[in-house]
């Protein structure tokens, strides 16, 4: 699929500008979008190629003018809709899904996001000997699946 993302060799974008001491996220919602996307990805409902397609399959004018995480949010919305997850949630909410599960879900998202962004060692010019984040993917998938199954369970 060609589109706005096929950028190699395209002219006219101007100089590369580096932001000094750039933070990982400029707004809090960006961190949430990252965490949400990764945690939802752990469900195994889509792979990286489908994830990228969901982000890239849009008008070039959107892809080229939106910020990075705005594009990710749009991609996640597309994937959630395509998988029919929202339909199930709407049904589940009428069937007494425990509110506790939603809270665990939210906290798990934050935890996953923190694990990804913890390598602050590279924010400065030094590469310190801080150990890298350990993301136990099988365990994450297992927990995510359990939580989502609880949320989506019909009584």
């Amino acid at each position: 699929m060609n589109g706005g993302q096929d950028l190699g060799g395209v002219m006219g974008f101007g100089p590369v500008i580096e932001e000094p001491n750039e933070p990982h996220f400029h707004k809090e919602w960006e961190a949430r979008v990252l965490g949400l996307t990764l945690a939802m990805g752990a469900l195994g409902l889509w792979n990286i190629d489908k994830g990228r397609h969901a982000r890239e399959n849009r008008p070039p004018s959107e892809y080229l003018s939106w910020s990075y995480y705005r594009i990710w949010l749009a991609g996640l919305e597309t994937l959630v809709a395509q998988c029919g997850l929202l339909d199930d949630l709407a049904t589940a909410s009428t069937k007494n899904v425990k509110p506790l599960a939603a809270d665990m879900f939210r906290r798990h998202f934050q935890k996953v996001a923190l694990q990804i962004v913890r390598p602050k060692r590279l924010q400065n010019t030094k590469l310190a000997t801080i150990s890298p984040p350990r993301i136990s993917t099988p365990r994450t998938t297992h927990v995510c699946r359990d939580i989502c199954a609880t949320m989506l369970a019909k009584s």
């Binding site: 993302q5 190699g8 590369v16």
Partner: protein, 151 residues
């Protein structure tokens, strides 16, 4: 990892032959780092890494990528005007040094081993590690000289 490659020639060889395993030796493993290839800068070749189609980046080794790496100016121009992009970063590479640009994919992530700065023969691996910058491992910067380090 870079400092280790500078001081330990057998590690450097392992890194160049099978970066995934060599990096795993140091425990930098995880998602987005499943298949890694290390490319070495020399006086003949300067390497740069990009993902023109999206933002593929070796998360377990370098963390999250900076905005400039993910944005159209870098992604579009480094493959047609790498020296111009280096100039944007205040970096110049000699005329007779070849500049090679590697386009990462969802499957393969590249990592640059920057050149060891001059006059660092006496430094320990730990001190050498302080000279390695994130940008030098993407190819938009060089490792620091000892006198450029903040105290």
């Amino acid at each position: 990892m870079v400092a280790k490659a500078w001081v330990d020639e057998s590690y450097r060889d392992r890194l160049l032959n099978n970066a995934t395993d060599a990096i795993a030796e140091l425990d930098f493993i995880g998602r987005q780092g499943e298949h890694m290839v290390a490319v070495e800068n020399t006086s003949q070749v300067h390497n740069m890494v990009v993902c023109t189609l999206c933002s593929c980046y070796p998360w377990p080794v370098l963390g999250l990528p900076p905005i400039w790496y993910k944005s159209p100016p870098y992604r579009s121009r480094v493959v047609i005007d790498p020296r111009g992009v280096l100039a944007d970063f205040g970096v110049s590479v000699p005329e007779n040094t070849e500049v090679r640009v590697w386009d990462s994919t969802a499957e393969v992530r590249y990592l640059v081993i920057p050149q060891r700065p001059h006059g660092t023969e006496d430094l320990s691996e730990e001190k050498l590690a302080n000279l390695v910058t994130r940008n030098s491992m993407i190819g938009t910067g060089m490792a620091l000289n000892s006198d450029e380090l903040e105290p």
